[in-house]
């Protein structure tokens, strides 16, 4: 790897402007009272002091994207016959995301195992993932809702990121973590950052120091299966759930989607859009049968998927990056940490079962 670089805070905007010449650049900024990853605009202030309200999930997995365009036309040989042409719409261009947090980007590593699986590679995801670089900011201080340390991560975890930027006095130390990352660090605005390496270590250690001991989640996969049929457990956990999609749409590792068609006249598009397992329609079958008919069934799936079903088929990796957005942004304060711990500590009633 190339040596680490240093960027003065005062040069940050100029550097992003440079990057924006050849890439689409996303950076967090205030939209109303929320901090959202938006196309970089040198005239608008960016907001990177704290983790953004929304993770930059949409840069690789858009809220809605075109999969296939189709057109109808009349067969000139047989006018009663309608011909259909379907064309794939693959994403183009390169994107750089600045100001993501370690948890935000680590979410994509959980996508990768599913979307880049050998025999079922998702060409849309792959195109974006390969052409998107993440310049991730190491966290200086975790928030109350942060729990990355529960799920094998840390405030300076670079997994999935191309560059890790660590804020130090008056600037950032930039460490490349991929070839893509190295290529981003060629600007003349950057100077050698080797001499800051101890400061960087301090920042990382200091941040990690704020996080108290993490509970042992190794039993979570089995314990969640043990309470699978205990609907009382899940009804209690889900009692206050509103069945909205805020937790899933704000989650860096939630990757479910819907596919729907829209037509206008003789043209149409097949879209892929975010969908969420909290919604009653998600598993609703045409017959009216729904395998997850209540919010308790649905919350069970969300927690179960992250802490049990996904690890079971992906080398024990928990599909949660601990960003805490589902806790912080839940309109009713559901705390996934509590549910997982309750499942782990749950003792089956004696005599029952």
């Amino acid at each position: 790897m190339d040596p680490v670089k240093y960027l003065k805070s005062a040069d940050l905007m100029s550097w992003l402007e440079e990057l924006a010449r050849e890439n689409k650049v996303f950076a967090p900024r205030y939209e109303g009272d929320a901090v959202i990853f938006a196309p970089f605009d040198p005239k608008q202030e960016i907001s990177i002091k704290h983790a953004a309200t929304m993770p930059p999930k949409k840069t690789v997995f858009p809220q809605s994207e075109k999969l296939v365009d189709f057109t109808y036309s009349k067969d000139p040989e047989n006018l009663s016959r309608i011909l259909i042409e379907a064309k794939e719409i693959l994403p183009k261009g390169t994107t750089v995301v600045f100001g993501s947090r370690p948890c935000d980007v680590r979410g994509f590593t959980m996508f990768d195992r599913v979307y880049l699986a050998e025999k079922t590679t998702d060409v849309y995801y792959k195109a974006r993932r390969e052409n998107t670089s993440f310049i991730t900011l190491a966290c200086e201080k975790p928030e109350t809702t942060c729990f990355c340390h529960w799920v094998d991560s840390s405030p300076s975890d670079a997994s999935g990121s191309d560059v890790l930027a660590t804020p130090i006095e008056d600037g950032y130390v930039l460490e490349p973590f991929s070839e893509k990352g190295q290529k981003l660090l060629t600007s003349s605005l950057l100077e050698n950052g080797e001499r800051w390496i101890l400061e960087v270590k301090d920042v990382h250690e200091n941040a990690a120091g704020f996080l108290a001991n993490a509970p042992d989640l190794s039993q979570a996969p089995q314990k969640l299966l043990d309470v699978f049929d205990n609907m009382e457990f899940w009804e209690n956990a889900a009692a206050k759930c509103l069945s909205c999609g805020a937790c899933t749409y704000l989650c860096p590792s939630c990757y479910c989607f819907n596919i729907t068609d829209e037509t206008t006249g003789m043209k149409g598009t097949r879209f892929r859009s975010w969908d969420n397992c909290m919604s009653a329609q998600f598993t609703m079958e045409a017959s009216g049968h729904n395998p997850r008919p209540t919010k308790a069934h649905r919350l069970k799936n969300r927690v179960g998927h992250k802490f049990s079903y996904y690890p079971a088929i992906h080398d024990g990796v928990i599909s949660c990056c601990g960003c805490g957005r589902c806790i912080k942004s839940c309109p009713v304060g559901i705390d996934i940490r509590e549910i997982v711990q309750e499942a782990i500590n749950h003792e089956p009633a004696i005599g029952k079962e």
């Binding site: 999969l67 296939v68 189709f70 109808y72 047989n78 009663s80 016959r81 309608i82 011909l83 259909i84 042409e85 379907a86 794939e88 599913v114 979307y115 699986a117 079922t120 590679t121 998702d122 060409v123 849309y124 792959k126 299966l225 699978f228 049929d229 990757y255 479910c256 989607f257 819907n258 596919i259 729907t260 068609d261 829209e262 037509t263 149409g268 097949r270 892929r272 969908d275 397992c277 998600f282 598993t283 609703m284 079958e285 045409a286 017959s287 049968h289 395998p291 997850r292 069934h297 799936n301 179960g304 998927h305 049990s308 079903y309 996904y310 079971a312 088929i313």
Partner: protein, 277 residues
């Protein structure tokens, strides 16, 4: 190497439409590209996503056997938006097909065994390709018994071939309907009860069943009474699916994805899964 786009359907033409019952239609389709048709391979039990562009996709079993490749056959029961749209299609219409998806019946493991097919209503469709495949490779299998039931004679699909099934000497066919019906010359009774009457021996036998959830529930009980072990019972599941390749997240039962790890499961495998059918 360029990755395959799993979401891009292959264009196909409907060559024949059969009105099976008041709410079931069968479509026989061929891919527009002869090369694709030529190279297309699948196994009995695998499914495909049929696309009506502008409406959407839905999942159906390829119910023609791989041994008969003039066309791919799908039987569609009208239940929702996509199936209603498909029912409006006729010969010559274009549809998209994404296939084959999912796993298939373990027909290799069934070699040398007796087979009992138990199909209820549209649940006969997934059994058809396996049964025809076995009939096309008859010497590989022992006694083959079919119990096919529907609510009434008019709800019975594949009417046009039932007679030939009844006449075959290498296939024991039982047809049943739920309640008495004028002119019906076969059995009357619910599938699980009729199954108990036929009482196939569980010795060296595999039961393959598909049908509505309530029928499956009681059929499994009947099979158990007849001495069938969970490993000897094979079924195929239906779930709402979108991607068909294990990504979109709606057909999972615990860690298993019906679109990838299924739709075919043995009763023993189902018992290992969380209870969320």
């Amino acid at each position: 190497m360029k990755d395959k786009n799993h979401y891009l359907p292959e264009m196909a033409t409907i060559n024949e439409v059969i009105q099976e019952t008041h709410n079931i239609m069968t479509f026989r389709v061929t891919f527009n590209d002869p090369q694709v048709m030529e190279n297309f391979t699948f196994q009995p039990g695998q499914v495909g996503q049929l696309s009506s562009f502008g409406t959407g996709e839905a999942t159906f079993v390829i119910n023609s056997p791989p041994t008969r490749k003039d066309y791919l056959q799908f039987s569609v029961m009208r239940t929702g938006e996509v199936t209603s749209k498909l029912h409006s299609l006729s010969e010559g219409d274009q549809i998209g097909v994404r296939a084959p998806l999912g796993n298939f019946f373990p027909y290799e493991d069934m070699k040398g065994k007796d087979i009992v097919f138990i199909g209820g209503g549209i649940g006969m469709a997934p059994l058809r390709p396996l049964m025809l495949y076995m009939l096309d490779n008859r010497k590989d299998y022992g006694k083959i018994t079919l119990l096919y039931g529907a609510r009434s004679p008019v709800d019975m699909a594949f009417n046009y071939e039932l007679q030939s099934w009844l006449e075959r000497e290498d296939l024991e066919t039982h047809l049943t309907i739920d309640a008495k019906y004028e002119g019906w010359q076969h059995t009357v009774g619910l599938i699980p009860n009729v199954l108990l009457d036929i009482a196939p021996s569980s010795e060296n036998c595999v039961a393959v069943t598909c049908g509505p959830p309530i029928m499956i529930k009681f059929t499994l009980q009947a099979l158990e009474k007849l001495g069938f072990k969970d490993e000897q019972i094979v079924t195929t599941l239906e779930k709402r699916m979108k991607c068909g390749v294990g990504i979109c997240g709606r057909c999972n039962i615990g860690s298993s994805y019906v679109c990838m790890d299924g739709p075919v499961f043995t009763a023993a495998q189902l018992k290992e899964l969380p209870n969320e059918l």
